[in-house]
Homo-oligomer: 199 residues x 2
């Protein structure tokens, strides 16, 4: 449409439009026509910018699994105890999930799409979550003055597993109270794998 829009800006606009379309109606709904309509671009703009629909979807997958998701979604409280800090971080993730379920549903669908389309890439992107979670755990330890008594990768994996599980379960039954209950129990569980470190 707008002639002054740079090619990169157009790619980005289409990717964002695709994410909105997918959130609304699933990956299947993200047809070339639906996406350009959402982005208010002419049909021709699609293959002017992307060589194929698959390329767009790959870029979408890449965009939403980009580096800082986990860290952004797990907000850390200032100056609370260990268990409260972990619980608050998980709660902040749950709040995000509740605030925009369609987005997280789209994310899950896209993750499955990636798993089918390019398993190697999906695996690589998935590794990022573990690294991010480890970083968060390191931050938590520092802030709360504790040391983890179990290998960080194992703790991180447990939290990733639980996060994925809570997401899937809540998306299915929308039982927020129950989700918060699980979340509190998990926080206590994780907090048990730490010991105070003397300053």
């Amino acid at each position: 449409m707008n002639r002054r829009m740079s090619p990169e800006a157009r790619r980005e606009a289409l990717v964002q439009a695709a994410i909105r379309v997918i959130a609304r109606g699933g990956v299947a709904a993200a047809t070339t026509r639906a996406v350009v309509a959402e982005a208010k671009m002419p049909l021709g703009a699609f293959h002017y910018v992307f060589t194929s629909r698959d390329e767009l979807l790959s870029e979408v997958v890449h965009t939403i699994t980009d580096g800082e998701r986990m860290a952004a979604e797990l907000a850390l409280l200032e100056g609370a105890g260990l268990e409260a800090t972990v619980a608050a971080a998980l709660a902040s993730y749950l709040d995000l999930l509740i605030a925009d379920p369609d987005r997280e549903l789209a994310l899950t669908e896209l993750s499955l799409y990636g798993l089918r389309h390019d398993p190697a890439l999906a695996r690589r992107q998935h590794q990022l979550y573990f690294l991010e979670m480890e970083a968060v755990l390191r931050q938590v330890a520092e802030r709360c003055g504790i040391r983890w008594t179990e290998p960080l990768p194992e703790l991180a994996r447990r939290l990733i597993v639980v996060t994925e599980g809570i997401t899937g379960t809540w998306l299915a039954d929308r039982d927020t109270d129950a989700a918060r209950g699980v979340l509190r129990a998990v926080a206590a569980w994780v907090a048990a794998s730490a010991e105070r470190v003397d300053a």
Copy 2:
């Protein structure tokens, strides 16, 4: 095809064919033509037996979430301790997952499909998992001579959450050792919510 096949048998055959097709290529691949080809039936047989593709997919969703999945996948060992019993049950589920990942991937996809197509039904079907898990936990308690010290629904939910999480994580990274590690830790966690009951 075979004239002697009863209508119900034909429905069932198409449903099973659809599950295989979906496991192989996702829900999108389950076109009417692909399904009848997999079932070695003529195209016309499809709408002779189902009124629409959606009806088939609904039946598929209903079939795979049918009543005894959880119980069947969580095998209980005879005569082991509590933690070992829980660990073994989770391990038996993991073994099934590893043995047929495509099937479980298809199941996840179908669950998402159901969530979009008919959220109310999906929620109802999801409830079954909790009930089944509670039943399994009751069985475990009886066999191991213990009493759960936390509400059964909460324990069941934690296990469902973890099961879903382990499934999603393993499907993404195929790290079996790590999955077993999580599983052991979860078994210990759950086992901590029990007390011996004197006979």
